[in-house]
Symmetry: C2
Subunit: 174 residues, 2 copies
């Protein structure tokens, strides 16, 4: 698919609610289990999505619109959520993500993102020249890829419980 | 995690709503796109989950409880949904899955699944001897693995749109 702003917003606006239905009120054994040392649980994934709302997508959109390629984005800290989420419950994180996402989509709607503006370029500190359209497509793909991750991590908790069916579930042997 | 019926039902009861939030009302470009020839779209995944509700989990639970290992399960047709879903909308499939799952969880709750019964054995036509606990754990893992699949397939539609960010999104290069 080519990037289209309205199709992207269809996904971005659904992600908090999808995660809410998947995770709210679940026992901690589902939500806090991970795939082994230095891997993320569903809780960790949610903290990471929150940090993106605060420091990545909208701030970088602003930098492209205001400065073009002349000012590189701030590097994104992929592990900041570990400290920031400490002591919170999954339900608190779900509320926080929902409210940040809603606010960011209002901000985005006010930015008058025309087709011409989607082609505007900015500078990623590692990847170099990127377009605003690519940044916004990555926001969507990042959502989907982390929802898939949270669900996969939960699935893996039953790797042994499924017994011989394991061979029919490719996710469990990846 | 060890299999526990209450923890399993926590997931099984959420899946229709999770898919509902993810998929209802989405443009067809998100819902009908797949990963290439002979692969499934989110629509195909949902049809497959419906077929499982109708022919797999509860019927096999009954066979184990009534016949133990003396009668093998009917083989499960993994492609039956292609014909059965034809002409339906994604919203119709979401409603159908929701209602079948609700009915099946009521049936399950009436089956008096004790810890002792979870150890009861049945015969899978290919895998051989399996326990009821393994069957029910597979119901859960099957849900999660297909939710992850539907989300992954949607994510891949932006493989090109994300431009150079592709290398940061492992799901897009799998």
């Amino acid at each position: 698919m080519e990037f289209q702003l309205d199709q992207a917003v269809e996904i971005l606006s659904r992600t908090p609610d999808t995660l809410n239905r998947l995770l709210r009120g679940l026992p901690e054994s589902w939500v806090l289990s991970n795939e082994g040392p230095d891997t993320w649980s569903a809780f960790g994934v949610l903290g990471h999505l929150i940090h993106g709302e605060e420091t990545d997508w909208i701030p970088r959109t602003r930098i492209i619109l205001d400065f073009g390629e002349s000012r590189a984005f701030e590097p994104f800290d992929r592990f900041a959520q570990v400290e920031k989420s400490k002591g919170k419950s999954i339900d608190e994180l779900l509320d926080e993500f929902d409210s940040l996402r809603k606010r960011n989509l209002v901000t985005l709607a006010g930015m008058n993102i025309t087709t011409e503006r989607l082609a505007k370029r900015g500078t990623h500190p590692e990847l170099g020249s990127v377009t605003l359209g690519e940044l916004l497509a990555t926001w969507v793909a990042h959502d989907l890829s982390h929802v898939a991750q949270a669900v996969r991590v939960m699935c893996k908790q039953y790797s042994n419980a499924v017994g011989p069916w394991k061979e029919y579930l490719p996710l469990l042997t990846q």
